[in-house]
């Protein structure tokens, strides 16, 4: 949204915003906690409130066409896009393209935690959506793998809904999330944090029953004698975000294999001229305020690209 508005403010009058969900806002819609907009608006907002400020601005600009429930199926190097929506396969050619496709969560399977595959294991963002959007309670006794922000936020969220969060397990020697989250989510609620530990096995036939935990050394190898078990019915996985750049990869953009981010010489640019990436898809930001500024920059660059041509 910020990129579209910035492009408009730079003088572009023909803008299409394609969104796969049935509403605008993206991941912000499920982030009911506050802390958004401290830098950008000098205000303390929840995720939906922050999104709403941009939605209102956007809706006031008729030259920005919004296409919801629209799913891009093909992107070519010449910036021809094909997208699906109810009843139609549309084709458009863009002079300039901005990808604001955000991230997906790293899963338990990707980090190869051994054990069974029962119900009750959730990427933290999925648990967040179940609670905040669907009004459903995923479980009662929780262990959180990873001290990323989403995991810390959800540790607090679960506690506020009456669950018992038994532990947050972090493999490194310091937490991954913002310090303010460690204080406001863990310390304020007496949730135990285990640094230099990892979950080595998940137990449970149909539903999670417990996790086996072990201490690890600097080389992330198990330290003998430090194993213990925690009974639980829910495991949240919060071990990092992966930028969703498979579409631009399809178009031939060079991607850094390690981070899944586009290789670029200049911020927001990619190896295909006229194709820009912004927000978390460009680089995983820890505050939406920075993702927003980054997107405005991309919007302006995309606009400048057209004018220069």
């Amino acid at each position: 949204m910020a990129a579209a508005i910035a492009a408009y403010n730079t003088g572009i009058r023909d803008i299409l915003l394609i969104e796969r969900n049935n509403c605008l806002g993206g991941i912000l819609n499920q982030c009911v906690h506050t802390g958004f907009g401290l830098k950008y608006f000098n205000d303390i907002l929840t995720g939906p409130e922050y999104a709403e400020r941009f939605i209102d601005k956007l809706k006031a600009i008729p030259e920005i066409e919004i296409s919801l429930k629209s799913f891009v199926v093909n992107l070519a190097g010449d910036k021809v896009l094909k997208y699906l929506r109810f009843g139609k396969l549309e084709t458009v050619k863009a002079k300039s393209l901005i990808m604001a496709t955000g991230c997906r969560e790293r899963t338990r399977e990707m980090i190869n935690i051994a054990g069974s595959r029962p119900a009750g294991i959730f990427p933290a963002g999925l648990a967040q959506k179940l609670i905040n959007i669907e009004g459903l309670m995923p479980g009662k006794n929780v262990v959180v793998i990873g001290s990323g922000d989403i995991g810390l936020i959800m540790a607090r969220r679960f506690t506020l809904e009456g669950a018992q969060v038994k532990a947050v397990i972090e493999i490194m020697d310091r937490t991954k999330g913002l310090q303010r989250n460690v204080v406001q989510c863990l310390e304020d609620f007496n949730i135990p944090l285990y640094l230099r530990h990892k979950v080595k096995f998940i137990n449970g036939k149909d539903r999670v029953e417990s996790v086996d935990i072990t201490g690890v050394d600097r080389q992330l190898k198990e330290i003998p004698g430090t194993q213990f078990n925690i009974a639980c019915d829910t495991v949240l996985v919060s071990v990092g975000l992966i930028p969703e750049n498979e579409l631009i990869e399809m178009a031939g953009v060079e991607i850094d294999e390690r981070t899944n981010c586009p290789k670029s010489n200049k911020v927001n640019m990619t190896s295909i001229p006229g194709v820009f990436v912004c927000g978390n898809a460009y680089k995983v930001y820890d505050l939406v305020d920075w993702a927003t500024r980054d997107s405005e920059l991309a919007g302006k660059m995309a606009a400048d690209f057209i004018r220069v041509k």
Binding site: N74, R104, M110, K129, L130
Partner: protein
């Protein structure tokens, strides 16, 4: 109470293939499956390979039925509208002595009727399998190896069987069997009793326990675990054939598998265990798999893993046990169906039909057997032009639920109409939740669709049946 002609215990690939075969005849048939959906036992944890027939003991049922099954599966796949791809297989050799072993495998297989085998050299391999390690000196090429989706095979076989009159009962576990005279069985389940003249025991891991219910306990099912690791679809073309190492005594080894879904898969391990319910992966397992795989294709790495699972092979000795139990007339055991069970399934079904006929069951062909089944639509398998036409006819194909695998709401609703009741059932039929984010984004919506289509409370939606509910309730 209704008297069936045949009841099949077990709704995996073997049970479904038997149901499909018997549904050609004028018979009253029921299929009983203890899990919430078919294929939820051994059949879902499968490599999906239709073997050419190599590496089976000469004179074995495995050998004979695998070769016949390889041919039958192609025919059935066409009739049922399921994708079968003949990708071919390479058994690789790293040394001169390995090559002797290859030649032995080739001649043994040719005696069993396997066609087209040839030993290929390094030049051939460099051209046709460029990512293979340069330490591989030669390979045995078996062109008739193919791949199929094992669970979609089960669903398509059973759906066609049901379409031809077979009654399928899930969440129905046989707890006891009473015999009230010759060819007169009473199958007691948790909430009903079934009467039948003939019983076919295709109960996979529990075939020995079912057989013991009628007093035949001369075999035991010993589970052997196999861990498999599925890789990112980006690596779909890292190999062009199925890649096998030289076989060991009781396992074909750790393979590089092309799957019908596109994602490569590596594994399986082979480890004996007592527990018939223990389906966990292990740290040792992943190390074993990747160290073996890297020898054959060094580019493949642990970092490419998007999911993993462990299956249990139902081993009962060295060969399949497919026999009529003369001491209990009317009872047919179909046990110990490990590899090449998937390949052999249609041939096993033929053999079981013959055994039943030889033991008194009248097989009268149905004049109107519905041989064909309309192919299931998968958006991800359609070229864009076809997709465009499809959406104009049915706009719901344009409403995408699973983004990673491009699965529409229409496909999911169709899967539920065809029997999916759980998240795993939807996943196996449509591939929704099987991609990179593994359900991270689409689980909520799929739960809502299941709740609406099945008219059940969303809090009762499960991963794979009772006990695996996703949530514990609503927020208070």
């Amino acid at each position: 109470m209704k008297m069936y002609d045949v009841i099949i215990i077990g709704g995996g690939v073997v049970g479904s293939a038997i149901a499909h075969e018997l549904s050609r005849y004028k018979l009253e048939i029921a299929l009983l499956e203890k899990e919430t959906e078919l294929a939820f036992g051994v059949s879902k944890s499968n490599s999906g390979i239709i073997h050419p027939g190599t590496q089976n003991p000469p004179g074995s049922l495995k050998g004979k039925l695998c070769v016949r099954g390889n041919r039958l599966t192609r025919k059935i796949a066409l009739e049922l509208g399921i994708d079968f791809k003949e990708v071919g297989e390479l058994i690789v050799a790293f040394s001169e002595s390995d090559m002797e072993h290859l030649k032995q495998i080739k001649s043994d297989a040719e005696k069993l009727g396997v066609r087209g085998l040839k030993i290929v050299n390094k030049a051939w391999l460099t051209k046709h399998e460029p990512n293979l390690s340069d330490k591989v000196v030669s390979a045995l090429y078996a062109p008739t190896a193919g791949i199929i989706s094992p669970y979609r095979f089960v669903y398509d076989l059973s759906e066609n069987a049901a379409n031809n009159g077979v009654k399928i009962f899930t969440d129905t576990e046989v707890k006891n069997i009473k015999t009230a005279g010759k060819n007169n069985f009473e199958l007691i389940t948790q909430n009903s009793v079934f009467k039948t003249s003939y019983v076919v025991n295709a109960a996979g891991l529990y075939a020995d326990e079912v057989s013991a219910m009628i007093g035949i306990d001369d075999f035991k099912i010993s589970p052997r675990k196999g861990e498999e690791y599925i890789l990112d679809k980006k690596l779909e073309h890292i190999s062009n054939h199925l890649i096998f190492p030289l076989p060991e005594e009781h396992t074909k080894g750790i393979l590089i598998i092309k799957t019908a879904d596109g994602n490569p898969m590596v594994g399986p391990t082979a480890k004996e265990q007592e527990d018939k319910e223990g389906h966990s992966t292990s740290d040792e397992g992943i190390e074993e798999v990747f160290s073996a795989v890297k020898k054959m294709m060094p580019k493949i790495d642990k970092k490419h893993v998007i999911t993993s699972f462990a299956g249990l092979r139902p081993i009962a000795g060295k060969d399949f046990i497919i026999r009529h139990e003369d001491k209990v007339p009317g009872f047919v055991n179909v046990a110990g169906i490990q590899s090449p069970g998937l390949t052999a399934a249609p041939a096993i079904a033929e053999m079981v039909a013959r055994i039943l006929k030889d033991n008194g069951l009248k097989l009268k062909k149905k004049p109107h057997f519905k041989k064909h089944r309309r192919k299931t639509t998968h958006l991800f398998a359609l070229p864009l032009k076809k997709l465009e036409k499809l959406i104009k006819i049915d706009p719901e194909y344009g409403d995408i639920v699973c983004r990673c695998e491009m699965v529409s709401v229409k496909e999911i609703r169709d899967a539920i109409k065809r029997g999916a009741k759980t998240l795993d059932g939807v996943k196996f039929r449509t591939r929704a939740q099987a991609g990179r984010c593994h359900g991270g984004f689409c689980t909520c919506r799929i739960m809502k669709i299941l709740s609406k289509e099945l008219n059940i409370d969303i809090t009762t939606v499960t991963k794979r049946g009772r006990g695996s509910e996703i949530v514990i309730g609503e927020l208070r």
